[in-house]
């Protein structure tokens, strides 16, 4: 899966080094974890770590696509909350869980569609639009559900959240995530749709002139974000065994952190799914280790924020280095390829 056009902006060597570095960090995290607590390597702990990360991981998949095209979606937390709210209302009215899930997915699709329509047809920067919909969707959720919370999900549903396969520590939700991961990875790296996203992220005008329907592509990634948010809502409510209007507040932070940590350029045009996967694992287990070491959820939030920033600093520095390299290469190339 690792071919030339994944390394679109940064030279091959740098990206490969980054993913290797991330793997190294992951291994170190495991080592630290084992030191910190004897419970770390227990099956139950591993599955909790994985299950806890899954909602963010599911949303990180379309977020990768969105950031590759040079856009951003800050409203994902609110979309998850909105879907959870509608599902809760369904349950309150005694409808079967399957109907609730269906409604949730519909709501997610519509929310993503609205984001896409305003960005594409309103011609507005996705930053501002999704800040607006972040407020709008959360607000709607609050209007509908007020302070109520709904539980009473059936057993099999809750199993999605933290039930595991057989005797392994792998939760069902992780399997769901992994299947989607494969799909998204193939989509981004091997299909023509994926290559179009990279092109859009690098030069939107030229891509449009090349016969690619840029509007449809961007609309598509925002819809994907909405759909996956609804799936994340299902997994999250299953995990928490409850649905409230404030579900998933702040989800955008770990999602964007994971994508950026995975090596996706925040300005668009480059990055790999594999990197994002490793980054998700790193984040999941770092948080887990911190928790075992007694750090509060807020403390973990601080760490997540710090990770985001440090990653960007590091990439900022390497961008400068690479730009210098490219200038050097170009002057060499011009010297040698005079026509």
């Amino acid at each position: 899966m690792t071919t030339a056009d994944q390394r679109i902006t940064l030279p091959r060597s740098v990206i490969a080094r980054w993913e290797v570095f991330l793997l190294f960090v992951l291994v170190m995290t495991f080592v630290c974890g084992a030191q910190v607590s004897q419970y770390f390597l227990r099956s139950s702990n591993i599955s909790i770590a994985l299950a806890g990360m899954t909602p963010a991981a599911i949303v990180a998949l379309p977020m990768t696509l969105i950031i590759v095209t040079g856009e951003i979606d800050i409203s994902v937390g609110s979309m998850v909350g909105l879907c959870a709210t509608f599902m809760a209302v369904c349950l309150e009215h005694g409808l079967p869980v399957q109907a609730a899930m269906l409604l949730g997915i519909t709501v997610g699709t519509l929310a993503g569609l609205l984001n896409g329509i305003i960005v594409v047809y309103g011609g507005l920067p996705s930053l501002v639009v999704t800040i607006g919909t972040l407020a709008l969707y959360r607000g709607i959720a609050q209007i509908i559900l007020r302070e109520r919370g709904v539980s009473g999900f059936p057993e099999w549903y809750q199993n999605i959240g933290f039930g595991t396969i057989g005797g392994t520590p792998i939760p069902w939700s992780s399997i769901i995530f992994f299947l989607f991961f494969i799909g998204f990875a193939i989509f981004l790296h091997a299909t023509h749709w994926g290559r179009a996203l990279y092109a859009i992220g690098n030069n939107r005008e030229a891509t449009r002139f090349s016969g690619i329907n840029v509007k449809r592509a961007i609309l598509g990634v925002f819809i994907a974000s909405g759909v996956m948010s609804s799936l994340a809502a299902i997994v999250l409510t299953a995990y928490l065994a409850s649905a409230r209007s404030d579900t998933a507040i702040g989800l955008e932070l770990p999602v964007i952190t994971a994508v950026v940590l995975g090596g996706v350029n925040i300005f668009g045009g480059s990055g790999t799914m594999a990197g994002v996967l490793i980054a998700l694992l790193v984040l999941a287990f770092v948080q887990n280790v911190l928790g075992l070491a007694g750090v509060t959820p807020e403390g973990q939030q601080i760490v997540t924020g710090a990770v985001l920033i440090v990653t960007l600093i590091v990439f900022g520095a390497s961008e400068i280095i690479n730009k210098a390299k490219a200038t050097l290469w170009r002057s060499r190339a011009i010297g040698s390829t005079r026509d």
Partner: protein
């Protein structure tokens, strides 16, 4: 086969690009005697890594003379320009100014030393007015504050002295490239430049505009300015310049008076070999009509275009910039929809709905701007070539067949003779001429039957040009119908079988190869033949003062009104909302209620002031709520343990906390160059997490805080709460600072165009740091007031403050793209929301609606303003179409 000789070789009468209008050739050259050099470059050497881009180059620029600089792409011209402009430092050699050795360190230093550089794409600030653009960074001041009337008058005078007719109050984004160049020249005059460097100024402007430009140059020469003129066009190099220096591969080949050089000699020096036949037109069998167009109209000004292209035929589209040729090409390619007319392929009517559809119909378009519209520079050559046919390369599942892709890419790169290390080489590391070949290969792959080439040889060197012409001829010989759009008369005459001349969106003339008449073609393309003669006498007539009222066309006055309407419109909106609420609930107007409204607005307003500054600078700060919480908690804690502390000290403490947090934001954005959106997303998490950890779940209530603290929120002056006074004072204070200080105007410049700000010597780092620190300080200040106003302080206060602040700022008319808007608007925005919130309360609507309303407000206002801006731009653009040049005409 008739070898037709290239424009560069045929001795050309003077006039840019051979576009003279059949009038007496004008010579722009000096009659000034020998004068000593103003700037001298001696033995200048520059290396980039192992490559020596300039080797011991000498150049002397004399007062009152035009020195032309000629050379192919990569010869070192632009590096030399950058050295003069202070952007690069030479590795060897000396720079002498008026005989004294000097160094030029940066763009601002170059300006200080009287060297002005006009780039091909003028570096301007789109949102700022013409006057501000001219004086950016050094606006005239009076008594410590910026003197706007003086600036307007001085700008108008400068433009008048150049005989340029532009209203100095118009924002520059409305102006054409030629007008922007005029402004750059005015800017050069305003700094009393002694040296003017013009880097390929004529590539993107029309023939008449070029003549005007050269007249300005003539005037500058009389004022003793030394001019360095860089161009690709031999006619201009020899016609405008008094002397010419020719560079090749970084070395100076020759410097000579232009009168002593023929065009052939010039080219020979540039390329080092004898120029061969440049237009090898092959004998072609011209077949049946492939493309037929009837009465095509669209793009606002293109009317009634009808023509036919046959297989194997090259149809030339000739005309001035803006005559409509590219627009026709884009209509054929489905980029824009025509309003009327018929397009036929092989006799069948078709309606290209999109570029993809056009490709399927067999039409390919090589766009005019290869960097913006043609190539994805970060892709390898292979990926660029296959971009249009990606879908065809994929199977039913969408997976790309990479083997086939590589085969096709290699084949076509070979066809167009792309010189590179391979198809995997990144496109941005390949030279201009080769990039154009990649582009050509890209559009040949879909096997077009109609190939539209829009300026295929613009901006590339002589040898690459010849190769591309050879390829085009070859393509025609294979039966492709070709439309060649070019504003180079020699190219079109050399290559085409038929020529259609465009003027003002219509077809002005048609011509067949056997009867090509260069003068007739040029005449047809120009607006009127008389304008050239009239130019000499035009300036005598009309003593209109340059700062008169807006020119004809009500649209311009309307635009300005539309712009100002933002703040007035906000006041109007505010009044309407107040009226609406009052009608449903008269209690709204009660004194006590109004006071509550004002109070609830103040804290958000002060935070919004900081946010407005940040957004004007084209950044964003999501961490404001967390900063307020941190400051609030720390100050409340302090007061809890030291109840006798002076309030002033606590305020200082809060501000310091906020300031420190703001400094972190500033570091991340300004120094580490992290995009503000993610940087402040991260610090939002860190600060909020931090205060939660610090608080450890505690809540500090008013009972443990001293009375004096809560007093701040309750004290009135003249019946108005102190807090409101504070907010008003701060708003007015920042408003005045933004309007009347250099720093304030620099923020607008920075937000409008970062790159131009850099060239204007505005320190991006310092100003970005400033706005984030200010935002932090204001949040720190508000944090202290928060406890006073609300009584209870814990770690989760102000959870959505960032949303409230941003929505207030956005509703208040500050553009999210930066560069425009005001703090007064932001303040009005907070008031609108405060009234809305109060109204919601009074009318008994559920509080939970508020968050949704905030979200809807952000979305609708941004949509509304963007719609307004687009309409304004369209109206302005249309009003200038009827008068395409800024210079005064008879």
């Amino acid at each position: 086969m008739q070898p037709v000789v290239a424009a560069e070789v045929r001795p050309a009468p003077t006039g840019a690009k051979g576009r003279d209008l059949g009038v007496e050739p004008k010579r722009y050259q000096s009659e000034v005697e020998f004068s000593h050099p103003v700037v001298e470059l001696r033995g200048i050497t520059k290396r980039f890594g192992p490559v020596e881009v300039l080797s011991a180059v000498d150049l002397s620029l004399r007062a009152g003379r035009v020195h032309s600089l000629a050379g192919e792409n990569g010869a070192g011209k632009s590096t030399l320009v950058k050295i003069l402009g202070g952007i690069h430092q030479p590795d060897g050699g000396r720079i002498l100014k008026n005989g004294l050795e000097t160094t030029i360190l940066g763009a601002a230093d170059a300006r200080r030393q009287g060297i002005a550089v006009i780039h091909q794409h003028p570096a301007i600030f789109p949102d700022l007015s013409v006057a501000e653009n001219i004086f950016v960074g050094r606006q005239p001041r009076h008594a410590g504050r910026i003197d706007w009337p003086a600036m307007t008058k001085r700008a108008a005078d400068l433009l008048f002295s150049l005989q340029v007719d532009i209203d100095v109050r118009v924002p520059v984004k409305m102006l054409s490239i030629a007008e922007r160049q005029a402004i750059e020249i005015a800017k050069a005059l305003s700094i009393d430049a002694r040296v003017l460097v013009m880097d390929e100024p004529t590539s993107a402007i029309s023939s008449r505009e070029i003549d005007r430009l050269f007249e300005i140059v003539g005037r500058l020469k009389k004022q003793g300015v030394a001019i360095l003129f860089i161009s690709h066009f031999i006619d201009e190099i020899l016609g405008l310049g008094d002397e010419v220096t020719i560079l090749r591969s970084g070395k100076r080949i020759i410097t000579a008076p232009t009168a002593d050089l023929t065009p052939e000699q010039t080219i020979r020096h540039m390329i080092g070999t004898e120029p061969g036949a440049f237009f090898p037109k092959e004998d072609t069998q011209i077949g049946l009509p492939v493309l037929g167009v009837r009465k095509l109209s669209g793009a606002g000004f293109v009317e009634d275009i009808s023509f036919e292209v046959r297989a194997g035929e090259i149809l030339g589209f000739f005309g001035l910039v803006g005559a409509g040729r590219s627009e026709v090409g884009q209509m054929l390619f489905g980029v824009t929809r025509p309003d009327r007319g018929e397009i036929r392929i092989d006799g069948h009517v078709v309606q290209p709905r999109s570029p993809r559809h056009a490709m399927r119909l067999g039409i390919s378009l090589l766009p005019e701007d290869r960097h913006q519209q043609g190539l994805v520079l970060q892709f390898p050559i292979r990926a660029n070539q296959t971009l249009p046919i990606l879908r065809q390369l994929a199977n039913r599942l969408g997976l790309i067949d990479r083997v086939r892709e590589a085969e096709i890419a290699k084949k076509f790169a070979g066809l167009t003779r792309v010189v590179a290390t391979g198809i995997e080489q990144l496109t941005n590391t390949v030279s201009g001429g080769n990039q154009q070949k990649v582009l050509l290969a890209k559009w040949l792959i879909p096997s077009p039957r109609v190939l539209i080439l829009d300026e295929p040889t613009r901006g590339i060197d002589v040898r690459a040009k010849a190769e591309i012409h050879r390829i085009i001829s070859h393509l025609a010989a294979q039966g492709i119908a070709i439309i060649l759009i070019s504003d180079d008369a020699q190219e079109v005459i050399g290559m085409a079988d038929r020529i259609i001349v465009f003027r003002g969106g219509r077809i002005a003339a048609e011509s067949v190869r056997s009867s090509f008449d260069r003068e007739a073609i040029l005449l047809a393309a120009a607006h009127t033949a008389r304008s050239h003669e009239a130019s000499g006498t035009a300036n005598a007539a009309g003593t209109q003062s340059a700062d008169r009222a807006p020119s004809p066309g009500n649209s311009r006055g309307l635009i300005r009104r539309l712009m100002r309407v933002r703040e007035l419109g906000l006041v109007l909106a505010l009044l309407i909302i107040c009226a609406a609420v009052t009608m449903r609930e008269p209690r709204f107007l009660q004194g006590a209620n109004l006071k509550q409204v004002a109070l609830s607005a103040t804290l958000v307003c002060i935070v919004a002031l900081g946010e407005a500054l940040v957004i004007i600078a084209r950044q964003i700060d999501l961490s404001v709520g967390a900063m307020v919480a941190m400051s609030a908690f720390i100050s409340a804690e302090w007061l809890e343990h030291r109840p006798h502390e002076w309030i002033l000290f606590v305020l200082l403490l809060g501000c310091s906390v906020g300031g420190a947090l703001g400094i972190v934001n500033a570091l991340l954005v300004a120094v580490f160059r992290i995009p503000a959106i993610v940087a402040t997303l991260g610090t939002l998490a860190i600060y909020r997490g931090g205060v939660i950890v610090l608080a450890g779940g505690r809540q500090i209530s008013a009972t443990v805080l001293p009375d004096s603290y809560g007093e701040i929120a309750r004290v009135n002056f003249a019946g108005v709460p102190l807090l409101v006074w504070l907010a008003v004072l701060l708003t007015v204070g920042f408003g005045l600072a933004m309007r009347f200080t250099w720093t304030g105007r620099n923020l607008y410049a920075l937000g409008s165009n970062q790159e131009s700000a850099h060239f204007a010597g505005i320190s991006e780092q310092r100003h970005l740091a400033l706005v984030f620190i200010l935002s932090g300080l204001l949040c720190g200040f508000v944090g202290v007031l928060w406890g006073a106003r609300f009584g209870t302080v814990d770690a989760v206060i102000a959870p959505d403050l960032h949303l409230q602040a941003i929505s207030a700022v956005v509703v208040g008319g500050v553009s999210i793209f930066g560069g425009s808007g005001s703090v007064y608007g932001a303040a009005l925005g907070t008031m609108i929301f405060a009234v809305l919130q109060n109204g919601v309360q009074l009318l008994g609507i559920n509080q939970f609606w508020l968050q949704a309303v905030v979200g809807a407000a952000i979305l609708s206002t941004v949509l509304f303003y963007s719609y307004l801006a687009r309409r304004a731009e369209r109206v302005e653009r249309e009003s200038r179409r009827s008068q395409p040049v800024p210079w005064r005409l008879e």
